[in-house]
């Protein structure tokens, strides 16, 4: 129950930051990938610059999280599926000009073609999940084995 509220709150804040930074706009992503504008790269880099040292410190201190046990960061080694998946993701990202989180904000911002992107993302994820039902690849992104359920 509490975890559901945390999920909702973090979703709202995440979607809100993306929207406030205009990352749901095709034009923002397109300008970034055309290398016309450096802002999104700096956005990502500063998010990592803030979170990486804090996570390192908290893990080293053996922090216990209230809902997920001891803080444990993932450090898998790259495998072929990471590179293949990343390559396909990049091509799709450049064509559609959006990715999973911004696509949701795209729809809520009133961009009608977000309603075309959103089912496309669902379909693509589903095609792979169905293909890999018995041998689900888990990465350090979020498709992890230790997903907690309530």
């Amino acid at each position: 129950m509490k975890l559901n509220l945390i999920g909702l709150a973090f979703g709202v804040m995440f979607g809100g930051v993306l929207a406030a930074s205009n990352l749901h706009e095709y034009d923002t992503i397109h300008a970034m990938l055309r290398l016309d504008e450096i802002d999104v790269f700096l956005f990502m880099a500063s998010a990592i610059a803030v979170s990486a040292p804090l996570l390192w410190l908290l893990e080293r201190r053996g922090m216990n999280t209230p809902f997920g046990g001891q803080l444990k960061l993932s450090r898998s080694m790259p495998e072929a599926h990471h590179l293949k998946g990343g390559a396909l993701f990049g091509v799709g990202w450049a064509i559609a000009g959006t990715c999973p989180a911004p696509a949701l904000v795209m729809v809520s911002s009133g961009a009608v073609l977000g309603l075309v992107a959103l089912p496309g993302i669902f379909l693509g994820l589903h095609l792979r999940e169905r293909q890999a039902m018995h041998d689900l690849h888990v990465g350090d992104g979020e498709h992890r084995h230790n997903q907690i359920s309530v």
Partner: protein, 159 residues
């Protein structure tokens, strides 16, 4: 509605806030602030599968609501539009729609194969210093920039 947030938040404000959100979700739940996993859980929820991580479904709804809050309440002028001005200026809608759908399907498939997307691998994974995430991020940045330049050449510089 209110126009409290008329302009784009500068990267040096939005980026660090997002960094703190990433840390916050790890500190509370030991989980990455990703997005593609939430799609998978939401699909499972809608199809009434077993073992759905229900808080990820709330998180999915939250991302939508967060966007709604900022674009429709705190900022005025987000009226109904295509959202793809640069693309619709170059191609007719009959080309743009399949392009967006095809691109989205490709990125969804790629995210599932790689085990994460721009947020899961690109930000949370690199923040964890995961070699796999660094490899995924370097790969998708490279192919995305190449694809953008190929599209630019194919359209004679219009896109």
């Amino acid at each position: 509605m209110f126009d409290l947030l008329p302009d784009r938040l500068p990267w040096f404000v939005g980026g660090p806030i997002l960094g703190l959100l990433i840390v916050g979700l790890f500190v509370l739940a030991n989980q990455p602030l990703g997005a593609s996993g939430a799609y998978v859980q939401t699909t499972g929820f809608l199809r009434r599968r077993d073992g759905v991580v229900i808080w990820r479904v709330w998180y999915f709804v939250g991302m939508f609501l967060g966007g709604l809050l900022v674009t429709q309440v705190l900022r005025s002028g987000s009226e109904i539009r295509t959202g793809y001005d640069a693309l619709t200026n170059v191609f007719p809608l009959a080309v743009v729609v399949p392009m967006v759908f095809g691109g989205a399907t490709l990125l969804g498939y790629g995210a599932a194969l790689a085990g994460g997307c721009t947020s899961g691998h690109g930000m949370c994974g690199t923040a964890q210093r995961s070699p796999a995430s660094l490899a995924v991020t370097a790969t998708f940045m490279t192919t995305a920039i190449i694809t953008t330049f190929v599209l630019r050449i194919l359209t004679g510089g219009d896109l």
